[in-house]
């Protein structure tokens, strides 16, 4: 068993455990922290799957951006209500059963497929500079989705700002 494989299973286990913990978490704040753990673990897995640029983006955008925003949100709501955010559960049994059934179905589906072994492809991909290629691809083949994404971000930014602002309801 080589080092990458150990790392791989480590990250996998970390993500899975954090996910399970998330299921039982009763505090939103803890939930958010657990999600950060999962995201970071996934970033590690991305590196192992030769997607360094995605992994960096995952850490920067998700762990650094979204989660910060979410924690802000949590703190804002708890400040407004003045009591700690304790999460109740609804439909715990049927929800869990559906989730498990879903998982079972997916596992069954995955198990039915045979995938090519990753060793045959691993060698060729080591010489491959993913980040540069991604950068070129973004500005050439994917320029249209890229620009569209920019517009989407702008819209989301404005939308979020307008909706979250206090006197929005008065202006609209």
């Amino acid at each position: 068993m080589n080092a990458p494989l150990i790392l791989f299973y480590f990250f996998e286990a970390a993500a899975a455990i954090a996910a399970v913990a998330l299921l039982f978490a009763r505090s939103v704040f803890y939930g958010a922290l657990l999600v950060i753990v999962i995201l970071l673990a996934l970033a590690g897995l991305y590196v192992l799957a030769f997607a360094e640029f995605v992994a960096v983006t995952q850490i920067l955008v998700y762990a650094g951006g979204i989660l910060v925003v979410i924690i802000f949100g949590i703190m804002l709501t708890s400040r407004l209500s003045g009591k700690p955010l304790v999460v109740e559960h609804t439909l715990p049994v049927s929800g869990g059963l559906v989730g498990l059934a879903f998982f079972g179905a997916l596992v069954y589906a995955i198990a039915l497929q045979t995938f090519p072994t990753s060793e045959s492809v691993a060698k060729t991909s080591t010489t491959f500079d993913a980040t540069q290629t991604v950068g070129i691809a973004l500005m050439s083949d994917y320029v249209l989705p890229f620009e569209t994404t920019g517009i989407l971000l702008l819209m989301a930014l404005i939308g979020a700002a307008v909706m979250a602002s206090d006197n929005a309801s008065k202006k609209i």
Partner: protein, 101 residues
């Protein structure tokens, strides 16, 4: 290098977990977190499949765009949550049932 289907099993697990979170948690922010979890599960799959085709970048690209969309979704979602919270003084999604009235 780990077999691809291990990635997939983890993705399936995370996805199912996200689903359960969405269904069972009585807090909107937690639901958002569940959503993020599901998005990440799909991202994981995309990256894993991309690793099977080293010459191409489509999977990674898709993952990148998913991340961007997730950003937007999270930002707008949180804004909604705040708005709803101000309006209804609750963050329990079931309490927001005005359309049902």
């Amino acid at each position: 290098m780990a077999p691809v289907h291990h990635f997939l099993y983890l993705g399936a697990f995370l996805f199912s977990t996200g689903l359960i979170v969405i269904i069972t948690k009585r807090n909107t922010i937690m639901v958002l977190l569940g959503l993020e979890l599901m998005l990440n599960a799909s991202n994981l799959n995309l990256v894993a499949f991309n690793s099977l085709h080293p010459g191409s970048l489509q999977g990674q690209m898709f993952a990148l765009f998913v991340i961007v969309v997730a950003v937007c979704e999270a930002a707008v979602g949180l804004a909604i949550v705040l708005r709803v919270y101000r309006q209804y003084r609750t963050s329990v999604p079931d309490h927001v049932n005005e359309l049902n009235q």
